[in-house]
Amino acid sequence: MKKELSPELKAVEKYGSDRTCLIPILHEVQKEYRYLPEKALRNIASMLDISLVDVYGVATYFRSFSLEPKGKHTVTCCMGTACHVRNSPGVLEEAKRTLGIDAGETTEDMLFSLETVNCLGACALGPIMVVDGEYHGEVTPAKVKKIIGKVKHQEGRD
């Protein structure tokens, strides 16, 4: 039986083993695991022939990487200035309350992660909330419960 290649190896094959490829490799690997497990960081360090601390440094410096496992669904609130002046803080507040977690955290049942982003560049629709890649525009705190509730319902958790 052919052994499945690890996401790390696949990513290195795709981008190359040069240090300049580290960030794209981390992105690719994170896409697979939905976070960066220690084992993967060790593998990447040895494949790129750089020290683990260099990989760890980059993985913890940039906000798009996570060393903690993420939930099945991601709720992202845009906190850009245009959204801010249209009450995105109220939207985030309500999302926190509905999910019972803080921004950057994941629910205990591993179903939801709540994230914030600095700007999605779709300011005409602000405030924006993205659920699993789907954009919801002109969100009000009152709408948050409905949007998240729909996903909860699909998961049979309401």
Partner: protein, 619 residues
């Protein structure tokens, strides 16, 4: 396709494309920019394509999905040529009629046209819509004619002619002189003359012969998306600019650094690079000129500071994206310690224009010290949200009121924020300030990359200062003390004020901190971080004092300073607020006046939104 080996072959190829297109009687361009994308324009595009095929008119009608057209407020939008018909807020249901009436017969469908808010008349042509009519769209206007995934569209618009001129009719130094004469200043924020940077990099000695040109597409300012729309919608324009710059400087390799939050930009860019390579516009011996150049794409990891040149270069190298002290300029030792020139997306996009029409003509647009046009993302509390390209020197008032249509919901304009987290808030009394690098600096703000966020009376100016400081606190890389610690202390003070614990002497402390940070921070992030605080303190001091002395937030934003109650006279007892309250703080029976229990209320404002009778009072 075979590689193009000479300018003559390129012209031949271009003519062939144009000939091929003569059969089209109509072209529909559907905007696929970020705003329209979020409004499901993809489905509409697929539906139009299918309907045209089904109709058997794919031979005469061209269906094209393009980058951003700019008028995001009205999305999804489409333009139909040759009539120039402009449709807005289209939906899937409109598709059959658009195909049947407009694409087949050239008729305009009234309900899809833009209606002028003043005269209430429907406007057929895009060029007559006030939002567009008052702009000068030298760069953005090309977007709607271009499918970013098809190099032929760019060539059909005369693309890469400037490159031919640069490679075959000009000496490298002449190119730099031309850009110098044009007065092109960096569009990324600081407005440094592009030609000065180019000259320094050209002069620098490369030990192994390698020099780099980089494109900064790490558009991190919240509320700004001009660079995204240019690069995503018209990638070849930026590539052409970089090619010309590289030839002038003597660089052979390029990088485009894109933030990872823009996956579609990366996708379009990679396609464009492949297509340019395939036809021989990138690679070895470009168009037979002997000039070699290629470009790689580097993706960011979500750090605002990576917009700073040295941090960006560290990030491309696969290291932590921290800035360094610039005793030695990056023009001499930048990426991989080699001479490097970095410009922003919009700066590069201006280069083909300058080469094509010449510096003299280019200079005719704009002001004496700020030439050309500038693209702004006009967002926030504004009727016509979108991307606007205007000649430098236009006043803020013209942009916000004539093009942007003013503030919605009958609210009153309060301030406009330009320059992102390094910029400042400009009050109404200064709305006649022209957009010009120096004029904006003089009023305590800056041009920045082009974010223009309009604020009305519901925005608290102290809270906005706190918002930017909080943002920067999060994004400070922590390498130097003044920025890392200074921002933290500023945030503590601003939180004190917005939460009603502030004192007047803290305002002096803020100013003092700001001065130290400006003078001693390592990079631009820390040096300019205090601008939002200083500008709000300067123009809106009374709001700070009100928060401190009267414990009042006039905008109703700072939660500890506001309270919600129900006006019993207006309350009908409809229960809407009670049902909506997420914390069960509202008591009351059906058809009886309700009451908010202050000890339970978390001041989220949901009841305020839910009440249809205006009975919930925010004080």
């Amino acid at each position: 396709m075979a590689k193009i080996k000479s300018p003559a072959m390129l012209e031949e190829y271009r003519n062939e494309i144009l000939r091929k297109r003569e059969r089209y009687t109509r072209v529909i361009s559907l905007c696929g920019g970020p705003g329209c994308h979020a409004q499901h324009c993809n489905e509409i595009y697929e539906a139009v394509k299918k309907a045209v095929e089904k109709n058997g008119s794919s031979e005469s009608v061209m269906v094209r999905k393009t980058g951003c057209h700019g008028f995001c407020e009205m999305g999804p939008i489409a333009v139909i040529q040759p009539e120039g018909i402009f449709y807005c807020k289209i939906s899937l249901e409109d598709v059959p009629e658009i195909v049947e009436r407009t694409l087949e017969k050239g008729e305009a469908i009234e309900r899809l046209l833009y209606s002028d808010p003043e005269s209430e008349k429907a406007i057929i042509k895009e060029s007559k819509v006030p939002f567009y009519a008052k702009q000068k769209r030298l760069l953005m206007s090309m977007n709607e004619h271009i499918d970013p995934g098809n190099i032929e569209d760019y060539l059909a618009q005369g693309g890469y002619r400037a490159l031919v001129k640069a490679l075959f009719e000009m000496e490298p130094l002449e190119i730099i002189d031309e850009v110098d004469k044009a007065g092109l200043r960096g569009r990324g924020g600081a407005g440094f003359p592009a030609a000065s940077k180019w000259r320094a990099c050209r002069k620098a000695i490369a030990r192994d012969g390698i020099k780099y040109v980089l494109c900064n597409a790490d558009e991190g300012d919240p509320g700004a998306y001009m660079d995204r729309s240019l690069l995503e919608g018209n990638p070849h324009l930026v590539l052409e600019g970089m090619l010309i710059g590289a030839y002038g400087i003597g660089a052979t390799e390029g990088y485009i650094y894109v933030r990872h939050e823009y996956p579609l930009t990366v996708e379009n860019l990679l396609i464009a690079l492949d297509q340019a390579r395939e036809v021989g516009l990138l690679g070895k011996n470009i168009l037979g000129s002997g000039f070699d150049f290629d470009i790689k794409v580097s993706i960011g990891g979500g750090a605002f500071v990576c917009g700073e040149s040295t941090a960006l270069m560290a990030s491309i190298e696969g290291r932590i994206g921290e800035p360094r002290v610039k005793h030695i300029h990056t023009a001499e030792r930048g990426l991989f310690n080699r001479p490097t020139n970095l410009n922003n997306v919009e700066t590069w996009a201006n280069v083909p224009l300058i080469i094509n029409q010449g510096a003299v003509k280019y200079r005719k647009i704009g002001t004496k010290t700020s030439t050309g046009t500038k693209i702004f993302s006009l967002v926030g509390s504004i009727n016509n949200t979108g991307l606007v390209e205007v000649p430098m020197g236009m006043t803020l008032r013209e942009i916000i009121f004539d093009i942007g249509g003013g503030v919605p919901k009958g609210r009153k304009f309060k301030a406009v924020q330009t320059g992102g987290p390094s910029g400042g808030c400009i009050p109404e009394s200064l709305l006649d300030t022209p957009v010009d690098f120096d004029a904006l600096y003089d009023v305590g703000s800056m041009m920045g990359s082009g974010g223009m966020i309009v604020m009305d009376e519901t925005t608290c100016m102290v809270d906005i200062a706190r918002y930017f400081v909080d943002f920067l606190c999060d994004e400070s890389c922590g390498k130097c003390v003044p920025c890392r610690e200074g921002l933290k202390q500023m945030l503590f003070i601003l939180e004190d004020i917005t939460q009603g614990r502030g004192s007047l002497d803290q305002l002096e402390l803020l100013k003092e901190l700001a001065e130290v940070m400006r003078d001693t921070s390592l990079c631009g992030l820390g040096q300019t971080a205090a601008n939002p605080v200083l500008s709000t303190l300067h123009y809106f001091e009374e709001e700070y004092i009100e928060h401190i002395k009267k414990k009042k937030c006039r905008a109703g934003v700072c939660k500890p300073l506001i309270s919600f109650s129900i006006n019993a006279k207006k309350c009908t007892g409809c229960m809407a607020c009670r049902k909506a309250c997420p914390v069960g703080a509202i008591k009351g029976k059906k058809k009886e006046a309700h009451v908010i229990q202050p000890e339970k209320c978390e001041k989220c404002g949901i009841c305020f939104e839910a009440c249809k009778y205006g009975a919930v009072v925010r004080k």
